[in-house]
């Protein structure tokens, strides 16, 4: 087509463009007005406090554990394990232990979730939301209360402890806590719903035609599951993995109540710097490290799941 820029044609063209500009500005304004309150909230109560907290990590320690000038890298060095007594692997151990506990709890929730989700999705449609609600319901109560319940359930005078004592698994008069065992129970119990829900979302829209195609093409039993069902649940699985492993890594309530001193995790280590023997700069530096460590972990996770052909569970989150 030949474009002729005659004045008669250019004028309405220009008018149309300015109308489009006004329209675009109005749209931008509407966007800011609707998103505004949320943005203000996020900046004031998430970003600013986080920046302040992380900044504290670069201050010196005052007489009462409070931050004071001058600025220093001492707290970060301390995170890396250096102190006046020289280098110690204590912090590395805490981080490694936290990671291991979080991943093992995530693995346990996966193992428990698959049969559970299979059970729920194969019920009648009317029953499913009810069963799902039963899984989610406990997580609406306070985590401290729930974890304290386990504290009692695993304590020396509980039925479970008596049974374990009787079987000779633990010495008499001792409880099943504190320790790794109790902590794993606590973490798995607390975070199970966060694995069940995304996995259920994936399982509910499972394409059963693919399962039939698998059966038609000579697959059965475990082979059928791995070839046709499992790949369809991977997005839910990845989403659940993030929802469980990340908060479990930094959990404070479970290690404090069920873990005991020998199995210190990073969450309780940080809490101690603010509540027990105050050392705000060190606590802030630990928080900064944990943030960076988690972010790095998530990036690695995303790259790996992309390579596996998934979307890193983004659609599910």
């Amino acid at each position: 087509m030949v474009v002729s820029a005659t004045p008669e044609r250019a004028a309405p063209e220009r008018r149309r463009r300015s109308e489009a500009q006004i329209e675009a500005r109005a749209r931008a304004l509407r966007l800011w007005i609707t998103a505004g309150p949320g943005l203000v909230w996020i900046v004031m109560f998430l970003i600013l406090p986080s920046v302040v907290l992380l900044a504290i990590g670069f201050f010196s320690i005052g007489n009462y554990g409070n931050p004071r000038l001058p600025l220093t890298l001492e707290p970060l060095r301390e995170v890396a394990g250096f102190s006046i007594l020289g280098w110690s692997p204590g912090n590395l151990e805490v981080i490694f232990r936290s990671l291991l506990q979080a991943l093992s709890a995530a693995a346990l929730t996966i193992l428990l979730s698959y049969p559970l989700v299979f059970f729920i999705t194969t019920r009648r449609p009317a029953t499913r939301p009810l069963l799902l609600l039963l899984v989610i319901l406990p997580s609406w109560t306070n985590q401290v209360v729930r974890t304290y319940a386990w504290f009692e359930l695993l304590g020396p005078r509980s039925g479970l402890a008596h049974a374990a004592q009787f079987l000779g698994l633990i010495p008499p008069h001792l409880g099943l806590l504190p320790g790794v065992f109790a902590m794993q129970i606590g973490l798995t119990y607390n975070y199970l719903p966060y694995m069940v829900v995304p996995l259920y979302a994936a399982a509910e829209k499972l394409d059963w035609n693919l399962v039939e195609a698998g059966r038609d093409l000579y697959a059965s039993g475990a082979k059928l599951f791995w070839a046709t069902v499992f790949p369809q649940t991977v997005p839910g699985l990845l989403a659940g993995l993030i929802l469980v492993a990340v908060p479990a890594f930094g959990d404070y309530v479970v290690p404090t109540l069920l873990g005991g001193g020998k199995s210190m995790m990073i969450g309780s280590l940080i809490a101690a710097q603010f509540l027990q023997t105050p050392n705000w700069p060190y606590g802030a530096a630990l928080t900064l490290f944990m943030l960076v460590f988690t972010a790095a972990g998530l990036i690695v996770f995303r790259v790996m799941s992309r390579r596996l052909g998934g979307d890193g569970g983004e659609a599910m989150l």
């Binding site: 394409d207 039939e212 195609a213 038609d216 000579y218 697959a219």
Partner: protein
């Protein structure tokens, strides 16, 4: 890989029954007591292109799913290659299905999809790749072997689904409306390709469709079903030309049907008048004539001294390219549907309002018993 090979129940390679299917009094009742399939008996011959035709909900897909093993008949037996299939799960039947939705595995490439069945049967990688390559060449899909199903067009997916079934060299291939999601042109192409593939490989194809045209184009024999019951089985030509009942006649193409009262020998009384019929009419309850078998003349050109000549006024003329479809009003408010081949100069076609003479030749009138 599991080293325990799957034992597929298959007929002997040289058996005359290999690829044949016997359905004996098959009944399948769904929850609620509705018989999806009701006492169907039929035998499908080895190497035949057999079509189950009927409207949606007639039970044709349920019947196909019972042959595949996804559903179990409540009564009756299914034999494939002469072997009873009772209690044999789908993964042990020498049958492969092309699903309506294709059901390609989205997390696998085209080549992996096609090789899936061979892998599950424990065929070694080299042999698998050879066979997958061969079938991809045959269906001309080798160029996108490495792609994922989501990157393919509908027609390409259809080919992959077909290859995924054929590569296993099953005795029977089951096809559940495999072309229904494609546009008309591609569909026509694939119909021919599918037919060519079946004749070349010599496998038994059981094809499910609700499209009577598709059934006519492709099948050696068809079975027409309605409401779970088998109405008629036979070669395409027989079923079209000599339908056993009104439903079959109306489902397979357009038709003019009138209830009859047998009058004297060789003639019947209908609502349009007395018709002379060549075929035996003793048991006839209806009489049918296909629109393309009606001859139309101008009033002045109509041959005289011939039976079954009816004067009428053209009420509707729908030009369809190769032919024109006319709705002709006869006396007493009776209508006649007729096709006229557009094989002459355009001015010969009839216009609405024109008076014409329609000839219903005695040999073209088909008595229907049901």
């Amino acid at each position: 890989m599991n080293d325990q090979a799957i034992h597929v129940v298959a007929g002997k390679a040289n058996s005359a029954q290999r690829g044949g299917i016997e359905l004996q009094e098959i009944t399948r009742i769904f929850a609620g007591g509705v018989a999806a399939v009701d006492g169907v008996s039929l035998s499908i011959r080895p190497g035949e292109f057999f079509t189950l035709l009927g409207p949606s909900g007639c039970g044709k897909t349920t019947l196909l799913r019972m042959i595949a093993g996804f559903e179990t008949p409540d009564h009756g037996d299914i034999l494939i290659s002469g072997l009873a299939m009772q209690g044999i799960p789908p993964h042990r039947r020498a049958v492969n299905t092309v699903f309506q939705s294709y059901a390609l595995f989205p997390h696998l490439t085209v080549a992996e999809n096609i090789g899936f069945g061979l892998r599950m049967r424990g065929i070694a990688r080299q042999e698998r790749e050879r066979r997958v390559g061969k079938i991809m060449d045959l269906l001309q899909i080798g160029s996108f072997a490495k792609r994922n199903p989501v990157q393919l067009s509908g027609g390409q997916r259809q080919r992959v689904a077909l290859a995924r079934a054929l590569v296993n060299e099953p005795e029977v291939v089951l096809l559940d409306e495999p072309l229904s999601a494609l546009d008309a042109k591609l569909r026509a192409e694939l119909q021919i390709e599918l037919l060519r593939m079946q004749k070349r490989l010599g496998m038994t194809f059981v094809f499910v469709t609700h499209d009577q045209h598709e059934a006519l184009v492709m099948s050696d024999r068809i079975a027409v079903m309605n409401k779970g019951k088998l109405l008629q089985v036979g070669p395409v030509l027989d079923v079209y030309e000599r339908p056993g009942n009104v439903f079959v006649a109306e489902f397979l193409g357009l038709s003019n049907i009138w209830p009859v009262v047998p009058k004297s020998h060789g003639a019947v009384e209908t609502s349009i008048g007395v018709l002379v019929v060549t075929a035996p009419i003793d048991n006839a309850r209806n009489i049918m004539i296909r629109p393309e078998k009606i001859w139309i003349y101008a009033t002045s050109d109509a041959p005289r001294d011939r039976p079954n000549m009816f004067a009428g006024i053209v009420r509707e003329a729908i030009y369809m390219g190769a032919s024109t479809q006319y709705r002709i009003e006869l006396e007493a408010n009776q209508f006649l549907l007729a096709f006229d081949t557009n094989n002459a100069a355009a001015e010969r076609s009839w216009q609405p309002g024109e008076t014409v003479i329609a000839e219903l030749k005695p040999e073209n009138l088909m008595p229907i018993e049901g």
